[in-house]
Amino acid sequence: MFRYVIRRTGAAILTLVAASIVIFGFIHMIPGDPVYVMLGDGATPEQVAALRTRLGLDEPLVLQYLIWAGNALQGDLGQSVFFETPVTQVIADGAETSILLATMTMVWIVGFGIPVGVLAAIRQGRWIDQGLSGLAMLLASVPTFWVGLYLILIFAAGLGWFPSSGFPSIFDEGGLSNLRYLILPSIALAAPNAALILRLTRASMLDVAREDYVRTARAKGIKPYRVVTRHILRNALLAVVSAFGFTFAALISEAVVTETVFALPGVGRTVVQSILRRDYPVIQGVILVIVCLYLVINLLVDLSYRMLDPRVELE
């Protein structure tokens, strides 16, 4: 177990290095000089040259990368060109919103997708299964921004149950009740992913229900409810758990859209704005942090897999 964690961590670090090179390289291939964007059209060549030097853009690309990577290792992701504050500060500012949004979204995905998938599976072919499967298909196919806009139209503008945009910190006035600002965005963000988890849970349950060992369990005379929870669901979740790694990746990209639709001060919206401003250090920094998160989450998924399935050997 310990050796496995060490080996996986090593592999994760290599992936991270490769990813950092790709991130750095791609960002610098995007057309548009940040110096011109920052200084505006009226800048003199002297001003441009001075700013270039200050940002280190004169150095060869390889050297720029090494400096950036070296600083990143020490927790310094550079200065935002636009905000003129450290990138880590820019990320930290959006982190509260993004972390809370992601957590609430995962609560919807797990709390809705899995139980409803189980329900659809045990009522296979009945109207409730067909209704739920149809709903899942619909939710999985409509774009997040569309769901977001309609949620705003109905529940914020129409019924007035929830605020339509923005998010004051839970540490400000209002405290935890400020989480109501995140209810509609998290639902919009959860919808397509919960639908996928629902369909996956249902399909996996139906697969497992045909296994010989489920028949053995029934033959023992244990109650149908126990057959479902102890024998079918436990094995069906193996497939679902491994999907969570991918779900996380999907969440990140969809969060960018959702935060924009609901005007949330999260990391996703910061990235979009930074791309428009050619704020290289922020873009690079945020993507690097996301890659790290992704690697950690996939490591956790693999480890939990080992706990759920004794057949998986980690050595």
Binding site: R215, A217, K220, G221, I222, L308
Partner: protein, 322 residues
């Protein structure tokens, strides 16, 4: 003869309207007796056993007949309903030991689960150890902590038998329990089933397509063809002198080590599908003794002096088998 512990009469199992896959099967099993149910793949033997267990897959249902366990009708009851009504003392061992155990639960948990349902007085861990000892699994305490993938096929089948015994069954159904095992392991498992049947006075329904296994193990034999029984009788006289032409044909197909003929015998043609069976004897198209009467109406059951029953107009007599 003692009262039968399991009594199946006129069992009909259907997979749809006019699609009967088991057609009027009847047999009795006495305590301590092994009944071998023999037939080709697809003849309905597994469906008969699943119907008896109350485990028919969805879409397939019992549409007639009765199944009595110690005099109580248990037909159409799922195993957990039988437990609720206090008549759940029937257990089953399946063909595929590799897939019949839950891969994510320890052996001990899977046995204890059955103990908890059927044997409320027993301490589950102690009873589980006792059951592993009964099926001759060495080092029971250690093996209870093993996962199924850590055991061999033979060991897994022993665990399956232990799970079956956990409900102290009056009847054990074994559906080709040794087909997936090596020959040496096969012998051990067969020996174990015989021994447990004698020591626990269980009735055993042993399903197989292997005549050799039946000859070794069973007390009585029932031969099944195209969803119905064609012949039943005690094992020794039946093997010595089969009365139904199908039984005789099956035996002729066994390789004879003393024969010079390099070719194995076969029965020409193939068994009809359930929807192809019209009236008359389903074996008629392949039978060498067929006559017009065989293709019309129901075929009566005839008995000989030793009580060997055959559903045939022209049963073979003692000297007949070629």
């Amino acid at each position: 003869m003692t009262a039968p512990v399991l009594s199946v009469s006129d069992l009909v199992v259907s997979a749809g309207p006019k699609f009967d896959i088991v057609r009027g099967v009847s047999f009795d099993i006495a305590p301590g007796e092994i009944l071998g149910l023999v037939g080709e793949s697809g003849c309905g033997k597994s469906m008969t056993s699943l119907a008896a267990m109350g485990l028919l897959p969805s879409g397939i249902r019992v549409s007639g007949g009765s199944i009595q366990l110690n005099g109580t009708d248990i037909i159409r009851l799922a195993p957990h309903q039988r437990v609720q009504r206090g008549c759940g003392r029937m257990a089953m061992v399946f063909q595929e030991p590799m897939t019949s155990l839950n891969p994510v639960l320890r052996i001990g948990e899977q046995i204890q689960e059955a103990v908890r349902v059927h044997d409320r007085a027993a301490s589950p861990p102690a009873r589980a150890r006792e059951l592993l000892d009964m099926v001759r699994i060495p080092d029971a305490t250690h093996q209870l902590r093993a996962y199924p993938h850590e055991l061999s096929g033979g060991m897994r089948q022993r665990v399956m038998i232990a799970i079956a015994l956990a409900c102290r069954p009056a009847v054990l159904i074994a559906d080709e329990p040794t087909t997936a095992l090596d020959v040496t392991v096969q012998r051990q498992v067969l020996g174990l089933i015989r021994e447990l049947c004698d020591s626990l006075d269980m009735g055993v329904l042993f399903i197989t397509h292997d005549l050799g296994v039946v000859a070794q193990l069973a007390d009585r034999v029932a031969v099944m063809y195209a969803g119905g029984l064609v012949e039943t009788g005690d094992v020794v006289p039946l093997f010595a002198a089969p009365r139904h032409p199908y039984t005789a044909g099956l035996m002729a197909c066994l390789p004879d080590p003393n024969s010079d003929d390099p070719m194995l015998a076969t029965i020409p043609g193939s068994a009809p599908r359930p929807n192809e069976i019209k009236q008359g004897c389903p074996f008629a198209p392949r039978c060498s003794r067929v006559d017009d009467i065989c293709r019309r109406g129901a075929v009566p059951i005839t008995f000989n002096d030793s009580g060997q029953a055959a559903r045939c107009h022209f049963p073979l007599t003692c000297e007949a088998p070629e």
